[in-house]
Each structure stands twice: as structure tokens, then as C-alpha cells.
Symmetry: C2
Subunit: 456 residues, 2 copies
């Protein structure tokens, strides 16, 4: 019997484990789930005969060595910064590895050694990164096989609340790590290419440079730019591409309201607020407003942010109860970002019956036989419940399917990889369809940003 | 004969060296000026019998040891990050040290050892920091001696162009390191206290939260907040101070126009622009604007930044020639900040006959015998020429005077210090008057930000 080791039994592991448990009999393997919490490690396995949950601290070298040595393939669902401990042992003991995280520089450095040992270290095989790579390369390779050349690639993903659970003015709830949502876009300007021209948007303007997209049956969404679209030039092999743009999807109107927090400075995570624990929400807001002995915090904010009396943004702010003078932040040494997160979590935490939703949207512009064409493709996945969320499904299933295919030697090309070769993405995309994860394609008239090649 | 070693013969050393050369006969000392460039080291000494310029590389241990060992006191005019090499040798060989830089954590750590050896390591004794400390503590100590308590302290400094040389719409030229001007305010929110309330301004709002001050004979100036005012609580011993605010002085209207660059993202120093060398000023501007096949860069910028047709800001931008399609940045791997600096240097570099100006303004609010009072004090210094600038004078003279007093054992309290004790600031301020560096004081009605104690 073969052994699969899964390290980390967080929220994203539910669908991964469910898939593998179901296949364990016919495929004849045993699953060991290791986590720092025994309860977490055991919660998905119950009394399944082909699985067990164990206590595993990856910083306990002996424990980690032992667990990895006795497995045939390792799936690391740990936060990205912890993968390297696991990766080094996988290399040492000759085990394949699967992660859903971006390939770090450190991970990339193992490539030659991994190849030499004939191992597969498959990364970036969740949803974003993951399904985005696979679904994009599927179209890109088809265009190339026909002799076409990609001239435009735009790709957007968003983790949102499902329409049936969407009951606030922001049309948003936290379906994933709230901290990442609060800090999104920070750390440098967003860089991309439009019609051959480099474009840069600083963080504090990011949420005012949105674009609108439309998904059949789900209506309109808006998109703000991700930080680094340019690295996809080399990843996808785009030479002289005219437009390259990646972004994050929100419901229309979210970004303009969110920008109020950005402009005030409430998303800053670089310093701590004195006495933050006892600060009321109202006092927190006042930290970012000019002093006045008489004017209300409400009017100061309206004036400072130029919010008209009838602007819906105001209702959005009030809905979050940010002017409450009794509720306190309750976190010691909180940064503004941490305090804001606390306020948002009061209102944006999913209810027990709420479902989440993943939306992905690609635009491909290409030139084929001298004619410019465009193909849009998109995918919408709604979660089953709070355990088998759309996020857990779209992250966990590609990881699970890839892991089994590597175990079964159906994916064999060695190296530190992402799923961009046909050998990898084609069978995985095919199997994902069985789980309702598929893309609708819409041939369009090529628009780009300058279809008539006007001006310069 | 005693020996004074000056390390670093940059622009700020001119008045320092002139002062010491003049005193060298009556005070009986010899000056050695060490610099990486022999030409620089010798340019201020000429054939003076009591001075010589030598080649000195502080990273050459032997050279450095030898130079420090044979001196009686060391003045380091190096950039702040290079002081530690010198400081450690001063400690080793038992030499006093003077710098005009902020005390770094590393420097502070030497305090106990410096005290044990009975040495004086005097830092922060230029203009800002330096004259600001001394002139502020002079008033603060006078208030305290009379039994008063400081409740408000605001302190502003600016390096500007003198009125007689002020001939552009920005009323600004580079009188010091241009790079620092372009990057000013970055690296975290500005923190201060107003009427007992903490206030934070993020970088991208900093230049829109200015205050106006007025200096007799020089008219109005504006002030934007410095990053960290709060550390002055401990430095000046302010307990429960109501208002504590430090800022940078510009001519009125500068900040609102400068904010256009901030909002566009042109002051970002965190990434490099592809092919920056050949980029025209016009193309540089377009990096930060939305793509359009037809609209002009001018109209895109006006619209994006909401600049009215008749707004003077527009004239300021045009004066800088930023829309020029022929001039190129000419710097390889330039960041936006480096490119912007290049554009500004075309227009804001001092002409040969131009003079610079240093403006300093303090506000002291205090409570004495139950009554709230206020005293404003300010200083304006205009440079003599391009060598003996106001900056070189106000940085160099306090350094020079302090150094001689330490050499003469008039300042003896040992430790890693800044000039905030009366023993130090009082004689130095007195002597600075001989060089025209003095403060005018204006008793005022206390205003603060809430004189009537309204609201809460």
C-alpha cells in the first residue's frame, strides 16, 4: 500500500482529503494527515480505515524526517513560508512534493537537484495560482497550435460571497484570510502592460483604477490590478505581448469605498497604535482625521474624503459601525490594519449557512492568419457549505488530482514545476469537470485598448 | 599643539573648516582633513600653515586607526551610516567625537563604554538636528525654571532658496541632497499629538495636511508633518504634553503641487523602470496614466488628478517641462524617484549667484501659574554664496564651536549625547549670535488647537 502524507489540515484541506479518501480503496493508498493540532489532523478522517491523523510539528526534525521518509508523496498545505523545511527533506529522501503556493526563490533553487533525482515538485496548483495557470495555458496552447500569437492576456480572480448569501452593501464577506484582504495591493506599485506601454499604479490609487467585467448569470464585477503582472511574460512565454494585466475581482462599488480606508491610512500595518486595546471604533477613526474641538468625526471624515451627503459610500461606512463609540478594538499593540480587520470581521464574517464563490475571468487576444481575435473564458464556483467551500474545492481538488497522478506516474517530468505543460494541465482540467469546475468560452470581437491602432 | 581630525570634506564642511582655521593660531591646534578625494580634502585648507588635507578611506583600517590615534578630537562629517567605524576607533583610542547626525541605535549602545572612558560623543549638533534642539531647550528650560509646564511644542525647519534667488513658481530649489527631497515623508505614516489625541497621516495625504506659518519680513510659509514627532517626548522630557508636532517648511503652495507627483506614484523608489535611460520626460509621465489611443497625456493627467483649467498647479507642472517629448531621463535602471529627481534638477538646481535660506520656527505653549501662554521663536539665515551656504553655516558652526569647547574641556559631561543640556547649548547659542544665528521671540496669546477646552 502506498502512503500519501498531507502536512497541514487547515480550511483548504477539506475537499483535498475528501477526494483522496474516496479514491484510497481503488487506488490502494493510505493517507497520513499531520498537523500541529491533533484535533485538526483527525477532523477530516474520522474512522476511515485508510487514513489517520497525527500530531506533526515540522520544526521537530525527527518527527518531520520520520513522517516524510515513510511516505511516497508529500502534500504540503502549510503556509508558503514553511514549505522549505518539507521540500529539503523530500529531496533528501527522494519523495515527490505538491504545494498550492507560489514558487519561492529558495524553492526554485532546488530545481537542478530535484531534476537530478527525477522527482516532481509540483507547486502553484491550487486555484490562484493553479486553475488560472491551467485554464490559461489550455487556451494559449490551442492558439499556438493553430499558429496564432497571443497579443493580449488579462486574468482576474476573486474570492467572494455567493449571491444567495450576499446581504451587505459591500457585497463582500471574508471567505479567506481576512488579513490578506486588508493588506491586498500593498508593498509596491502595480505593474502591467497596455498596448505595449508599461503602466504603474501606486497603492493609494489602485482602488480607483478599476475595470468592469460581466459574467453571464452573475452580472457585473469590478477588477483592480494585482501587483506584478509582468512576471507572467516569462512564465507563459509571451514575447512582445501588447497587453498583460492581472487583477482581483470584487463586486461593483467595493473598491471605491475600500479606497476610503486606504486614503485615511487605516490599512497601514507598519506601526502600532498606543493603547489600541481600549480604543473605541470611533476613536480609531479619529486617529486619521484632523483635530477639531467641536466638529463631529462624521463631518470631519465627510469633508476630508469629500463624501457627498447622498453618496452610497457613506451608507457602506455606517453599515460597518465604524463610528460606534462603545465597541472597542480589543487587541493589544494593534496596527491600523489589525484594528480595521477587527472592525470588518464583525460584519464580514460568514454566517453558518453562508456560501462562498470563486470567480475567474480570462481575456485572450490573439492574431491568427493576420486577423485579431479575442476569446473570453470564465468560471464561477459556489461552495457547498462552510467546510466544503468554493475556495477549498478549487484549491484542494487540483492538488489532490495532481498528487494522485504523480503517485501513479502519469505525471513524471521532473523538476520544480507549475502546471503549465499540457502533460499536467490537460488531464487535470478534464477531471475537474467531473466536479463542476469548468470554463465557459465566449469568442468576441477583438477590442484590446486600441483596436483601430489610432495615435501612438 | 593639539590635533583636530575632520573626516569628510563635503559641502557642509566649508563653514566648519573656515571657523577652525581662523581659531587655530590663538587656540593652538592643527587641523587634518581626511577625505576619499584628496582634492576635496585640500580645497578648504589651501596653504594654511595649521592645516593639511589627506587621503583617508575610513574602510582602510590602518589608515583610519592611524589618523584617529594621532588626533585629540574627531569630527565626522560623513554620511550617518559611516559614523560607526569612526566611533569605535574613537572609543578604542580614547578620543572625543562630534557628528551632526541623529544618534543611531548602534551609536546609543556605546553610551556606557563612552561614559566609562570619560569621553564626549556629541551628536545631532548641526542645524536639524542641532540648532533646533538647542534653541528649543533654551526656551523650555527657561519655562521650567520659572515653574511652568510645556503643553504644546511645534517645531519646523526648512532648507529653501533665498527670496532674492527665488524665481520659479514652486518657490523652491535644491539647496541640499535632492534625493532626500524627492523621498521626503516616505517610509511610514507621520505620527504626532494634537490636544492629547494621537494623529496619523499616511504618506499619500501628507502634502494635503499642511499648516501655514508667518515669519516677519519673509511672509508666509507652509509646513507638512515630519514622520516621527513622538520620539521628542522622551528627548525633551515632555510628560503628558497636549500637542507635539514637527514639520518641514516650504513656501505656500508647494505641497499641494508636489502631491501630484506623490499621487501619480512618481516618488516611488522601490522598483526600476524598463529602458529608463531612453525614456522621454513625456513617456515617463505616461507610465502613471491610464492608456488611451487618442487622448493627450496632458488631458489624461488633468482628468486623473482633477486639475482645473485655471489651476496654478498646471503652470507649475509645465514649468518643469515634464511633457517634453525630446528630453530623456538618461539614467539606466532608474526608479520613478530617480527619474523625477533628474527632471527636477534641470529646473531646481541653484545658479551660481543663487543663495539658499534656512528657516526655523518653534511654537511653545506652556502653563505658568495657572495661565496658558505661548511663545513663538524663529530664525532665518541666508547663505553668503554657493560655498558658504546657509546650510553649511548652520550645520558647520555648531559642530565647530562644540568641537573646540570639548577640546578645551569647557564641555566635559561624558556619554553619547545630543546638545540638550544647558552646559552645552547655552555657550554655543551665545557664540552663534556672533555669526548672525539667533532667534527672534514673539510672546503670543495661547491658541493651541482648543483654547476654550470645547467638546472632548
Amino acid at each position: 500500500m502506498r502512503n500519501i502524507l498531507i502536512i497541514g489540515a487547515g480550511r483548504s484541506a477539506s475537499c483535498l482529503i475528501r477526494y483522496l479518501l474516496k479514491k484510497s480503496h481503488e487506488e490502494n493508498f493510505f493517507i497520513t494527515i499531520g498537523d500541529l493540532s491533533l484535533e485538526s489532523a483527525q477532523k477530516f478522517t474520522k474512522d476511515h480505515p485508510n487514513a489517520k491523523g497525527v500530531l506533526l510539528d515540522i520544526f521537530n526534525e525527527e518527527q518531520r524526517n520520520e513522517a516524510i521518509r515513510s511516505s511516497d508523496i508529500v502534500i504540503s498545505m502549510l503556509p508558503a513560508r514553511f514549505h522549505m523545511e518539507v521540500a529539503k527533506d523530500c529531496l533528501k529522501y527522494g519523495k515527490d512534493l505538491v504545494t498550492a503556493s507560489y514558487i519561492s526563490d529558495e524553492m526554485q533553487e532546488l530545481d537542478a537537484a530535484v531534476k537530478e533525482k527525477g522527482l516532481v515538485f509540483m507547486n502553484e496548483i491550487g486555484v490562484d495560482p493553479g486553475i488560472d495557470h491551467m485554464s490559461a495555458m489550455d487556451v494559449i496552447d490551442r492558439v499556438r497550435e493553430r499558429g496564432g500569437k497571443i497579443i493580449l492576456f488579462e486574468s482576474f480572480t476573486g474570492g467572494l460571497v455567493a449571491p444567495e448569501s450576499d446581504d451587505n452593501l459591500w457585497n463582500y464577506k471574508f471567505t479567506w484570510n481576512p488579513r490578506n484582504v486588508v493588506l491586498a495591493g500593498q508593498g509596491g506599485a502595480a505593474e502591467f502592460i497596455q498596448e505595449g506601454k508599461y503602466k504603474y499604479i501606486p497603492y493609494h490609487r489602485l482602488f480607483r483604477r478599476t475595470e468592469i467585467i460581466k459574467v453571464d448569470g452573475f452580472g457585473k464585477f469590478e477588477v483592480y490590478a494585482n501587483r506584478n503582472s509582468l512576471k507572467y511574460q516569462s512564465v507563459y512565454g509571451f514575447n512582445n505581448i501588447l497587453t498583460l494585466y492581472r487583477g482581483t475581482i470584487r463586486r461593483v462599488g467595493f473598491s471605491k469605498a475600500w479606497n476610503i480606508f486606504v486614503k485615511l491610512g487605516m490599512t497601514d500595518d507598519s506601526y502600532t497604535i498606543p493603547n489600541s486595546e481600549k480604543l473605541t471604533y470611533r476613536q480609531f477613526v479619529n486617529l486619521f482625521l484632523p483635530y477639531s474641538p467641536t466638529d463631529s468625526i462624521e463631518l470631519k471624515l465627510r469633508h476630508y474624503m469629500k463624501i457627498d451627503q447622498d453618496d452610497l459610500i457613506w451608507e457602506k461606512l455606517e453599515e460597518l459601525d465604524i463610528f460606534n463609540g462603545k465597541k472597542t478594538i480589543g487587541i493589544k499593540k494593534a496596527s491600523p490594519a489589525m484594528a480595521l480587520q477587527k472592525i470588518l470581521m464583525d460584519k464580514w464574517t460568514l454566517n453558518e449557512e453562508d456560501k462562498d464563490m470563486i470567480v475567474m475571468y480570462h481575456k485572450f487576444g490573439y492574431e491568427l492568419d493576420g486577423v485579431k481575435k479575442q476569446l473570453d473564458s470564465n468560471m464561477v464556483i459556489i461552495g457547498e457549505d462552510q467546510v466544503h467551500t468554493a475556495m477549498a474545492k478549487t484549491v484542494g481538488l487540483p492538488v489532490a488530482i495532481a498528487s494522485l497522478k504523480i503517485l501513479n506516474k502519469e505525471i513524471t517530468t521532473p523538476g520544480v514545476l507549475r502546471p503549465i505543460s499540457k502533460e499536467v494541465y490537460s488531464p487535470i482540467l478534464e477531471e475537474l469537470k467531473d466536479y463542476g469546475i469548468s470554463f465557459n468560452e465566449y469568442p468576441k470581437k477583438y477590442t484590446g485598448y486600441n483596436p483601430d491602432n489610432v495615435g501612438g
